[in-house]
């Protein structure tokens, strides 16, 4: 069967300063095709597609859609050319109605000599919502009245109602619940059936393998290959992404090692309104305890609650010696560390030096009689940053200059430096490339051997299976199942408890 070529990308190029983000990438996409774009973080897949959609200016090369060369300066111009994007972050705007959000930048059909026909706009928006089966969302309402999931659905309507020739879905599924994902897959299939195309960017290789026709792989900004999905396995893809075999040392390989009975932390009846309810569990010495579930299941809040960073938490978090953890400074003082999923806001201070980021929790330990010595602080930060093999010029460099993986290294250096015994790591490898990932797994295994306890909250099931001694699965804010480390444990077992 001969397919019509829809999009031709020729010699696409982009630099950010010294970083060559996209390096001479050429590829073609057929009409009626769902094309996955995969690669590690920093491989250039988002930059590539955002150039297509006018979010970034094109550094070099051309995109030709249906025979026409694109020169989009922003999303609206891209929309007019038949290119639309659904982004990872919140793409709807507060303070606007649902209808205003859907037609933002596309008010022209409703404008008559500069006057906006609000009634017609609401009516049309409602018609679209009904058509997509999202009729419970009301077009004239303020978008603020709806939750994240519904707002994502509004975004899907916004991205697809004008029937774009090509739709880019940039890591949207991570933000969606299972139901939301299914809605999105349905829409993707509909677009394919209509002879239009989708560029689907995702880290979730399972999803890529089941919902796409072809896969293009990028690595370090360079185009590697385009392959047929049906010929591929997850390992094949990983090999293409990384460019080498992933050694067996990727995850832990030991099974059946006993875990100490000694309880270091007990969490009793912890609730946070609207997030988690009646969470109770124990953490043992030298244990890696995994928390899994869908992204909105409340597991991320569990990490915050243990660290006493939640607002309005009830219930108790108690250490072996009876210390109650009720505020962050107490938690840190008693050897609890926390690395947030929201690294840029909650873990590192971007506009600060690596040095000050690393010393911050340890500052009382480093002071003698309340006095600080600049030299001592620098030496401390330098030692721990280097132990983690952080790529930097020196510790005076600002964290904002570092890549995601190196930022995470700074976070870990900070807590290793503090000597914390209980580490709560929320999505520790999120958005981090495979090399650093491997280093983090090795570090976790090492810390575990030293008798430290780790709570690993993760949305990646293989990571939980590979690293945890015990896995707790959460659903709708409650604990919904517990599994012990076992080579026979499968992803399906966990998923069954998640949904």
């Amino acid at each position: 069967m001969e397919n019509k070529v829809l999009l031709v990308a020729e010699h696409i190029d982009k630099r950010f300063g010294i970083t060559h983000a996209v390096n001479d990438v050429s590829l073609t996409i057929d009409a009626g095709e769902i094309r996955a774009l995969i690669g590690e973080n920093g491989s250039g897949k988002s930059t590539f597609s955002q150039m297509l959609c006018g979010i970034y200016t094109i550094g070099g090369g051309t995109f030709t859609l249906d025979g026409k060369v694109l020169h989009c300066r922003n999303q609206v111009e891209a929309n007019n050319e038949g290119v639309a994007i659904i982004v990872q972050e919140m793409g709807t705007l507060s303070g606007l109605t649902v209808a205003e959000n859907i037609f933002l930048g596309h008010e022209e059909p409703f404008m008559h000599m500069g006057v906006k026909d609000t009634r017609a706009m609401n009516k049309e928006a409602q018609r679209l919502l009904d058509e997509y089966g999202f009729g419970r969302i009301k077009a004239a309402d303020m978008i603020d009245l709806y939750n994240f999931e519904d707002r994502k659905l509004v975004e899907i309507v916004k991205g697809t109602y004008m029937k774009p020739k090509i739709l880019v879905i940039d890591e949207t599924t991570t933000a969606l619940s299972q139901n939301g994902r299914l809605e999105l897959y349905k829409i993707m299939d509909a677009i394919r059936a209509d002879g239009r195309s989708v560029i689907f960017i995702s880290h979730d290789l399972g999803e890529v393998l089941t919902h796409t026709d072809t896969i293009s792989v990028l690595r370090d900004g360079e185009f590697i290959a385009t392959v047929q999905t049906k010929d591929m396995t997850e390992d094949d893809l990983k090999r293409l992404m990384v460019g080498r075999e992933i050694g067996s040392a990727y995850y832990r390989t030991d099974y059946g090692e006993p875990v100490s009975d000694e309880v270091v932390l007990s969490v009793r009846d912890v609730s946070v309104p609207g997030q988690i309810s009646h969470v109770t569990f124990d953490l043992h010495r030298g244990e890696i305890l995994g928390f899994g579930g869908l992204s909105e299941c409340g597991m991320h809040e569990v990490g915050k609650a243990i660290f006493a960073a939640s607002w309005e938490r009830t219930g108790t978090v108690t250490l072996a010696d009876g210390t109650q953890i009720n505020d962050i400074p107490t938690a840190i003082k008693h050897s609890i560390a926390y690395a947030s999923k929201d690294r840029d806001n909650e873990s590192v201070i971007l506009n600060e030096s690596i040095r000050n980021n690393i010393v911050l929790p340890s500052i009382d330990d480093l002071a003698s009689h309340g006095l600080l010595s600049g030299k001592k602080l620098t030496a401390f930060a330098d030692k721990h940053a280097k132990d983690m093999q952080t790529k930097m010029q020196n510790v005076g460099q600002f964290v904002s200059d570092l890549s995601g993986g190196n930022k995470q290294k700074v976070v870990l250096a900070r807590w290793i430096g503090k000597g914390s015994d209980i580490l709560v790591l929320d999505s520790p490898t999120r958005g981090i490339d495979v090399k650093v990932k491997q280093a983090i797994y090795a570090l976790m295994a090492e810390l575990r051997k030293q008798g430290k306890s780790i709570i690993m909250i993760s949305e990646e099931i293989p990571e939980l299976l590979g690293m945890a001694d015990r896995i707790i699965v959460m659903k709708d804010g409650e604990l919904n199942g517990e599994f012990l480390r076992d080579p026979a444990l499968s992803e399906e077992d966990l998923i069954a408890k998640m949904v």
Binding site: G54, N74, S94, L96, E100, E107, V115, L145, E312
Partner: protein, 316 residues
């Protein structure tokens, strides 16, 4: 059941009820305390006439405040524009007066917007600097003397002139918010500037438009202010700072009631409530020197009730 209540809480009637309840509450308190010299119908009419002047400015500020910006030069521009208006009125009558106020006002807005856009400095800081500059410019323009509006040009000094002009301003605001893109875009920029930019909104252009609209309304406010007071003296030394706050109070009401989709009503009623509180204190015999105390406390109470940040939010 709880769903119905949640639904009710977001409907515009809930907002109206809330505003009405506040109005009745404050009116009631002062009426009980000083039944004889407060709150007769003609009293209320007087309070309304002074409050609508500020409401006009409050409407203008709304465009800027929803974008997350701020403007300290409103007061300085009221003084400057009304002085320009009065000077021009001496030659060109009403045309000079009205066009002088509106033209000077809008031009100052244009200047502020351009400087803000090109200096890349927070609006609060730019406008503090510009306030200093506009104040001294106003002194130069006025030649250091008190400017008086000629008696034959005082149509807007009282009813119905002032009410007609303010009413027109409110209608204009309603039209802009509901029937042009400006309202939508200002809200979009306030919500998330990056996303707004990606949606093809020319953020700089709409910020400039926002400042120009604000200062167009400030121009209207200048007409009403100088008509009401009949004279205007330009002073330096941040003396215009206090003029920023009365309109701002209304704007805070407007922003707080935005979710009920009734910002303009909230601005007008909010200013009226504040006017009632002021006059209530005066009726109670509070000395005039204590007026700033009332301004400060009232504004503090309003922002505490309406502009609170969410728990855990970063507020500088």
């Amino acid at each position: 059941m709880s769903n119905t209540i949640a639904k009710l809480k977001t409907s515009r009637y809930y907002g109206l009820i809330l505003l009405g309840a506040m109005l009745i509450f404050f009116y009631g308190v002062f009426k009980i305390l000083t039944p004889s010299n407060f709150g007769s119908l003609s009293n209320l009419y007087t309070y309304l006439q002074s409050s609508i002047i500020y409401s006009v400015g409050g409407c203008g500020l709304y465009f800027i405040v929803v974008m997350g910006l701020f403007d300290f030069a409103v007061g300085a521009n009221i003084v400057l524009s009304s002085i320009v208006g009065v000077i021009l009125s001496q030659k060109f009558g009403y045309a000079g007066f009205i066009l002088g106020c509106l033209g000077c006002g809008t031009f100052i807005g244009f200047l502020i917007g351009m400087l803000y856009n090109n200096l890349n400095v927070p609006s609060m800081i730019v406008t503090v600097g510009l306030m200093l500059i506009f104040e001294s410019v106003a002194v130069f323009v006025a030649g250091g003397v008190k400017q008086t509006l000629a008696p034959e040009l005082r149509f807007f000094s009282g009813a119905p002139g002032n009410i007609i002009l303010a009413g027109l301003a409110f209608l204009l605001m309603y039209f802009i918010l509901n029937y042009t893109k400006i309202g939508t875009y200002c809200n979009a920029i306030g919500s998330n500037e990056f996303t707004a930019k990606n949606m093809g909104i020319d953020v700089k252009k709409y910020k400039l438009i926002g400042f120009m609209l604000l200062h167009f309304f400030v121009g209207i406010m200048a007409i009403l202010t100088v008509s009401y007071g009949t004279t205007m003296t330009a002073l330096t030394g941040m003396s215009t700072m206090s003029r920023n706050f009365q309109p701002l109070m209304g704007t805070f009401f407007g922003v707080a009631f935005r979710k009920y989709k009734m910002p303009i009503t909230a601005i007008i009623v909010g200013e009226f409530i504040i006017s009632i509180i002021f006059n209530g204190f005066v009726a109670l015999g509070a000395p005039t020197t204590i007026q700033n105390v009332v301004t400060g406390a009232a504004l503090l109470a309003i922002v505490s009730l309406t502009a609170r940040g969410a728990k855990g939010s970063v507020v500088k």
